[in-house]
C-alpha cells in the first residue's frame, strides 16, 4: 500500500511523468489482501455545509415561505468533489459575515410568515419573555438544525438569548429571531460534526452522526424526523436497522435530489451556470444553454438510475435523452415538445449517444472560442477513468500553431504535442481521446469539417481502436477502469475524503459487488452505505 502511494506522488513530480504509468495501475490488486472488515478506517473530520446543503437544510427547517440568501463562501473541489473539499476548508471572515447576514434574514422571515412561525414556535407565549415556551421550541428546532439533541447547557444559553432579546425589543418573536440566529451561526450547524468515539480499534459513529452521514449522502440534506427518531431509539447501531432506514431514504423522491447533487459535483455541472462562450461565434450559445444542458444530463442520469434501473455503464452509449427545443435545435433533431423537456430516442442520424455527446460535457471541456482535445481527453482520463494526469512541465514553449494551409484541423495542429518527448508522455494519453470528439464544436454542435478540412475522429483508447465519438463512448463503457471509477468517486462523495491507501481493498470489494449487481447504481448506493468505509469511524485528523 505504502509503495503505491509513493509511486503516485513521484509521478506527479517527474517531468516525463506519464511514460512509466500504466493506465490501470492504480486498480491492480495488492499482494496480501486483508478482509474488508479488517481494514483500518481512514481519518474522520468535520465537514463544512456546502452552499447547496446550507440552502436545503435551512429550507427544510423553515419551509417554502423562507427565501434563503446564498452564502458568500465558495465551495472548493478537492479530490474532484466539492464534498471532499468541504472536509478541508472552513469559513473565511467574509463567509462568516455572510452566515450572519443569512441567519438574520432567515430568522426574520420565519417569524414574519404565520405558517413558518407556527411550525417553529408551536406554543403560545404567555408573555414577552416566556422562557418555557422558548425552550420547548428551541429543543425541537435545535434537534433538527444540529442533527442531535441539544445539551441542557446549550438550551439554557439559547433560551437566555431569546429572553434577553425579547426584553430588549419588547416582543417574544422579535427576541426569538436572535435565538434562531444563534442556532444557524453555530459551528454545530454550519459544520457536520460526525466524529465517532471509542477505542482506536473499534471507533464508531454514534447513531445521530450515522443518521447525518446517511441523510447527507442520500438526500444531501439533514435527517428528517423519522430518521432522528430511529437514531434516538438506537436502531441505526444495528446492521438491520441501518439498512431499513437506508432503503427508506433511497426509495424517497428526495434521493433524486441527493444523487443529482452527486452528479453535479462529479461532472462539475454546477459550473454550467457561469458558462461562457463567444456568442458572436456560436449562434446556439446564450446564457440559458448552460442550465439547459445541465438539466438534460441530470434527467438522463437520474432516469438511468431510478426509473430504468439500468446498467450504469450504458450512460456512455445510450441513445435515450431528454431534450427541450433549445437543445433539439443544437443537436439538429426535431423538438420533442414545444416547451420543457421530454424523453427522446435519438435517431442514428443525430450522431449522438451517451454522456460524451451531451452539450454539458462538451461545453465544459472546451475553450470559449474553440474545442479542446486536451481538455476533453483530460475529462475522460481523470473524471471517467480516475486516472490522474500530472500538470504540464514548466519552462517549455506550450504554444500550438495557428490554423494554416498545411495544418487546418486541430489534429494537425496539436501534432506538436506528440513530437516533443516532454509533451508526448502526457498528451499521448489525452489528445487522441479528445480528437475522437472533434466532430462536436465548443458548444457541442455537430460538424464534419474543421477550418474546411475533413475531421479525422479515429483513435485508440488503451489498445481499443475507435472511429468517432460513438465508438469512443463504447470503448470507455467497456474500459476496465470505468466501473471502479464510479465506485471510487461515489465512495469519496459518501465519506467526504480521499480513500486511505489501505482502503483500496474496500473499493475493490465494492467494485466486485457493483459487477455482481449488473452495474446498477441504486443497489450500489446501499452497498456503499453498508460498507465499513461508510459505517466505521477512523481517528480524528
Amino acid at each position: 500500500m505504502r509503495h503505491r502511494l509513493l509511486t503516485t506522488l513521484s509521478l506527479c513530480a517527474a517531468l516525463t511523468a506519464c511514460e512509466e504509468r500504466r493506465p490501470t495501475e492504480q486498480f491492480a490488486a495488492p499482494g496480501a489482501t486483508p478482509a474488508p472488515e479488517d481494514v483500518e478506517p481512514g481519518p474522520v473530520s468535520m465537514r463544512r455545509l456546502t452552499r447547496v446543503q446550507y440552502q436545503r437544510v435551512v429550507a427544510d427547517l423553515f419551509g417554502p415561505a423562507v427565501v434563503v440568501p446564498p452564502l458568500a463562501e465558495p465551495d472548493v473541489a478537492q479530490g474532484g468533489l466539492l464534498s471532499v473539499g468541504a472536509a478541508d476548508t472552513t469559513f473565511s471572515p467574509r463567509g462568516v459575515a455572510s452566515l450572519e447576514d443569512a441567519a438574520y434574514a432567515v430568522a426574520a422571515q420565519a417569524m414574519a410568515d404565520p405558517e413558518a412561525r407556527a411550525a417553529t414556535v408551536p406554543c403560545r407565549p404567555a408573555g414577552i419573555a416566556d422562557a418555557a415556551c422558548a425552550r420547548t421550541a428551541l429543543e425541537a428546532l435545535g434537534l433538527r438544525a444540529w442533527r442531535r439533541p441539544l445539551t441542557g447547557e446549550e438550551l439554557d444559553r439559547l433560551t437566555g438569548i431569546a429572553a434577553q432579546s425579547a426584553e430588549a425589543l419588547g416582543d417574544f418573536f422579535a427576541g426569538f429571531e436572535y435565538a434562531i440566529a444563534a442556532l444557524l451561526q453555530s459551528p454545530h450547524f454550519v459544520f457536520r460534526i460526525e466524529l465517532g468515539a471509542g477505542a482506536v480499534s473499534e471507533r464508531r459513529f454514534d447513531d445521530f452522526a450515522l443518521a447525518s452521514r446517511l441523510s447527507f449522502f442520500v438526500w444531501n440534506t439533514a435527517p428528517d424526523q423519522a430518521l432522528l427518531e430511529a437514531a434516538a431509539s438506537g436502531d441505526l447501531s444495528t446492521e438491520a436497522g441501518l439498512r431499513v432506514q437506508a432503503e427508506r431514504l433511497l426509495a424517497s423522491p428526495r434521493a433524486r435530489e441527493g444523487l443529482g447533487n452527486y452528479f453535479s459535483e462529479q461532472l462539475s455541472l454546477y459550473k454550467l451556470d457561469a458558462l461562457a462562450k463567444d456568442p458572436t461565434l456560436f449562434e446556439h450559445f446564450d446564457t440559458e444553454l448552460g442550465p439547459d444542458a445541465r438539466e438534460e444530463t441530470l434527467r438522463f442520469l437520474l432516469n438511468t438510475v431510478f426509473d430504468a434501473d439500468a446498467d450504469f455503464r450504458d450512460v456512455m452509449t445510450s441513445r435515450e435523452s431528454f431534450l427541450n427545443p433549445r437543445l433539439a435545435s443544437l443537436y439538429a433533431v426535431p423538438a420533442p415538445t414545444l416547451d420543457g423537456f421530454r424523453q427522446v430516442a435519438l435517431p442514428a442520424s443525430a450522431e449522438r449517444a451517451g454522456l460524451l455527446s451531451h452539450a454539458s460535457v462538451l461545453n465544459l471541456n472546451a475553450h470559449q472560442t474553440s474545442s479542446s482535445a486536451t481538455l476533453r481527453g483530460k475529462f475522460v482520463r481523470t473524471v471517467l477513468l480516475c486516472q490522474p494526469i500530472p500538470p504540464p512541465p514548466v519552462n517549455v514553449d506550450t504554444s500550438i500553431p495557428e490554423p494554416s494551409a498545411t495544418a487546418r484541423t486541430l489534429r494537425e495542429r496539436v501534432k506538436v504535442h506528440l513530437e516533443s518527448p516532454a509533451c508526448a508522455s502526457c498528451h499521448s494519453l489525452l489528445d487522441p481521446i479528445g480528437l475522437g470528439l472533434e466532430n462536436y464544436d465548443a458548444v457541442g454542435r455537430w460538424r464534419d469539417r474543421d477550418n474546411d478540412a475533413p475531421i479525422d475522429a479515429t483513435g485508440d483508447l488503451d489498445g481499443v481502436r475507435f472511429d468517432g465519438p460513438i465508438e469512443l463512448g463504447q470503448a470507455i463503457r467497456d474500459h476496465e477502469a470505468f466501473a471502479p471509477c464510479v465506485v471510487r468517486t461515489l465512495a469519496r462523495y459518501a465519506t467526504g475524503r480521499v480513500e486511505a491507501p489501505g482502503e483500496h481493498v474496500l473499493l475493490d470489494d465494492l467494485s466486485a459487488r457493483f459487477a455482481a449487481l449488473d452495474y446498477r447504481l441504486q443497489p450500489l448506493l446501499l452497498e456503499v452505505i453498508m460498507s465499513p468505509m461508510f459505517r466505521n469511524a477512523g481517528a480524528p485528523r
Binding site: 506527479c12 481519518p43 473530520s45 468535520m46 458568500a72 465558495p74 472548493v76 478537492q78 479530490g79 471532499v84 478541508d88 476548508t89 472552513t90 469559513f91 473565511s92 471572515p93 463567509g95 462568516v96 459575515a97 450572519e100 444559553r157 439559547l158 438569548i161 434577553q164 432579546s165 430588549a168 425589543l169 436572535y178 440566529a181 444563534a182 451561526q185 453555530s186 459551528p187 454545530h188 459544520f191 460534526i193 466524529l195 457561469a274 461562457a276 463567444d278 458572436t280 450559445f285 475553450h367 470559449q368 472560442t369 474553440s370 490522474p388 500538470p391 504540464p392 514548466v394 519552462n395 517549455v396 514553449d397 506550450t398 504554444s399 500550438i400 500553431p401 480521499v498 480524528p540 485528523r541
Partner: protein, 437 residues
C-alpha cells in the same frame, strides 16, 4: 489565543513542511509600532493579475531613477514618479506547479503543499494576511479582498485551505462598505440597540466553538480556530459599529456603482477595474481597512477580453509569434493599475497624498505565461509607506536575487519585526537594500 493558534497549526498536515501561521511577536510588535507613529496609518495594498507578462516587452532598457518605461509599462506614465520597478528576481521555491508555484512561493515564502488526492494548497498564510494580523486590528475590516474579473477567488490565504474569497460584484462590495451600516466619520448618532444583541449571539457562537474544540483532532482544531478567529473578527466589527467613527477628511460616501453586465459574453474588465478602484480608494480613505487586495484576475484566468480571439490563458499558449493580443491585455491591466495608483495619489490626507501612506505591491503568477517560468518575476511597487520604502526607480537584479527579499522589505516597511522570510531555498534574512531608507 495566539499561542494556542500557533501550537495547533504546527500540527497541521503532519507538521513537516508547514510553517506557523502568525508568529505571536509580529502581532504584538505591530500594534506597538502603530501606536507610536501618529498621523496617517500605514496601509498595505496588493494588485494581482493572472498569466504573467512578456519579459522582452516588460523589462525597461534603463535603470535607476531616470528609467524610461518599457512598452508594456507605458500606460503607467502618469504615475511613474511614484513607482518602483524590480526586475530580474526569481521565486526560489521551485516550479512544480504552473501558475501556482510562483505566487505561492513569493507570497507565502513556501512551495505549494500537495495533498493526498493530488490537490494543492499553500503551506502558510500569505503576505497580506501576515500584515493584516499585525495592522488590521483597528479597522472595521481586518483586510478586504476585491475582485475585478467576475467570480475571481484570489490568493489571500489565512493558512492551508483557507482562502479569503474576493468580492467581485461591485454592488455587493458597495453594500458591504457603504451600505446601511456605514456611518460617515464623525456621525455621533446613538448606536442601534440591536448591535448589542448581535454581539451576544456571536458570544454564544464562540462558546459553541470552544466547547467543540476539545473533541477535535489537530487538523480540525486548526480549521475551527480559523473559523473562531473569523467570528471574533465579526464581533469586533459589530463592536466598532457601536462607537463613533474617527473623522477622516477625505472620507465621503460614494454613489452606488452602476451595473456592468458583460457585452457579447465579455466582461467589461476596464470599467469594472475603475469602479472597484474608486470603492477601494474610499475604503482606505475612510479607514475601513488598512490591508487591501485587488485581484484583477486569477492565475489561469481565461477571461475573454474585448477583441480577443480566445480566452486569456488559452491565448498565452496558442497565440503564435510575439503574441500581440497578449501584449494588449497586459497593457490593459497596466492601464487599470495606473488608474488605481492615480486615484490613491489624488486623494489628499492633510498635507500628504493617501498613496504616501501606502505600500502597494503589484505582481502576477508567472513571468511569461507561455512558458510558466518564474525567474524574471514581475514586481512593481508604489507608495512610500510613510517613508519606510524608497521609491521612484528601476532596480534590476544581476544575480537572480530571491523575491523573498522584496517580501521581507514589505513586512518591515509595515513595521512587522520579521527576522526572516521564506523557507528552505527561499529563506532570506535581509530585505532588498535599495528599498530600505
Amino acid at each position: 489565543m495566539s499561542l494556542h493558534r500557533r501550537a495547533v497549526l504546527r500540527g497541521l498536515l503532519g507538521g513537516a513542511a508547514v510553517s506557523i501561521a502568525l508568529p505571536l511577536f509580529e502581532s504584538l510588535a505591530g500594534r506597538k509600532a502603530r501606536a507610536s507613529s501618529g498621523g496617517a496609518p500605514k496601509r498595505y495594498v496588493q494588485f494581482f493579475w493572472g498569466n504573467g507578462i512578456q519579459p522582452q516587452r516588460w523589462v525597461p532598457a534603463t535603470e535607476g531613477a531616470d528609467w524610461a518605461l518599457s512598452e508594456q509599462l507605458a500606460p503607467l506614465a502618469a504615475v511613474q514618479g511614484a513607482l518602483t520597478l524590480i526586475t530580474g528576481t526569481e521565486v526560489k521555491t521551485g516550479n512544480g506547479s504552473a501558475h501556482f508555484s510562483g505566487p505561492a512561493g513569493f507570497l507565502t515564502g513556501q512551495a505549494p503543499l500537495t495533498k493526498p488526492g493530488g490537490d494543492e494548497t499553500v503551506g502558510g498564510p500569505s503576505l497580506d494576511q501576515r500584515i493584516a494580523a499585525a495592522v488590521g486590528g483597528d479597522t472595521l475590516f481586518r483586510s478586504l479582498e476585491v475582485g475585478v474579473q467576475p467570480g475571481v477567488r484570489g490568493l489571500s490565504f489565512n493558512g492551508p485551505d483557507s482562502v479569503n474569497p474576493a468580492e467581485s460584484d461591485p454592488a455587493a462590495l458597495f453594500e458591504r462598505l457603504f451600505g446601511p451600516t456605514f456611518r460617515v466619520p464623525g456621525d455621533d448618532a446613538p448606536p442601534d440597540p440591536r448591535l448589542a444583541l448581535r454581539r451576544s449571539v456571536l458570544d454564544s457562537v464562540m462558546a459553541d466553538a470552544r466547547a467543540l474544540d476539545r473533541r477535535l483532532g489537530s487538523v480540525d482544531r486548526a480549521r475551527l480556530d480559523q473559523h473562531l478567529t473569523a467570528v471574533r473578527d465579526l464581533e469586533l466589527r459589530v463592536a466598532r459599529l457601536q462607537s463613533v467613527p474617527v473623522r477622516r477628511d477625505a472620507c465621503v460616501r460614494p454613489e452606488p456603482p452602476q451595473a456592468l453586465d458583460p457585452i457579447d459574453g465579455r466582461p467589461q474588465m476596464a470599467e469594472r477595474a475603475r469602479v472597484m478602484a474608486d470603492l477601494c480608494t474610499m475604503a482606505l480613505a475612510c479607514d475601513q481597512t488598512r490591508v487591501l487586495s485587488v485581484w484583477y484576475s486569477d492565475p489561469l484566468s481565461d477571461v475573454l477580453y474585448p477583441d480577443a480571439s480566445a480566452g486569456h490563458h488559452q491565448l498565452t499558449h496558442d497565440e503564435p509569434g510575439d503574441q500581440p493580443q497578449i501584449n494588449a491585455i497586459i497593457q490593459g491591466v497596466m492601464t487599470s493599475l495606473a488608474y488605481f495608483v492615480g486615484a490613491l495619489q489624488a486623494t489628499r490626507e492633510g498635507e500628504a497624498s493617501l498613496l504616501d501612506s501606502v505600500a502597494l505591491l503589484a505582481t502576477t503568477d508567472v513571468s511569461e505565461g507561455r512558458t510558466h517560468q518564474i525567474d524574471e518575476y514581475p514586481i512593481l511597487l508604489a507608495g512610500k509607506a510613510c517613508g519606510a520604502l524608497r521609491s521612484g526607480f528601476h532596480y534590476r537584479s544581476r544575480t537572480k536575487e530571491s523575491t523573498s527579499h522584496v517580501a521581507l522589505s514589505l513586512l518591515r516597511a509595515l513595521d512587522l519585526p520579521a527576522a526572516d522570510y521564506g523557507v528552505d531555498a527561499a529563506l532570506v534574512d535581509t530585505g532588498l537594500s535599495v528599498l530600505e531608507p
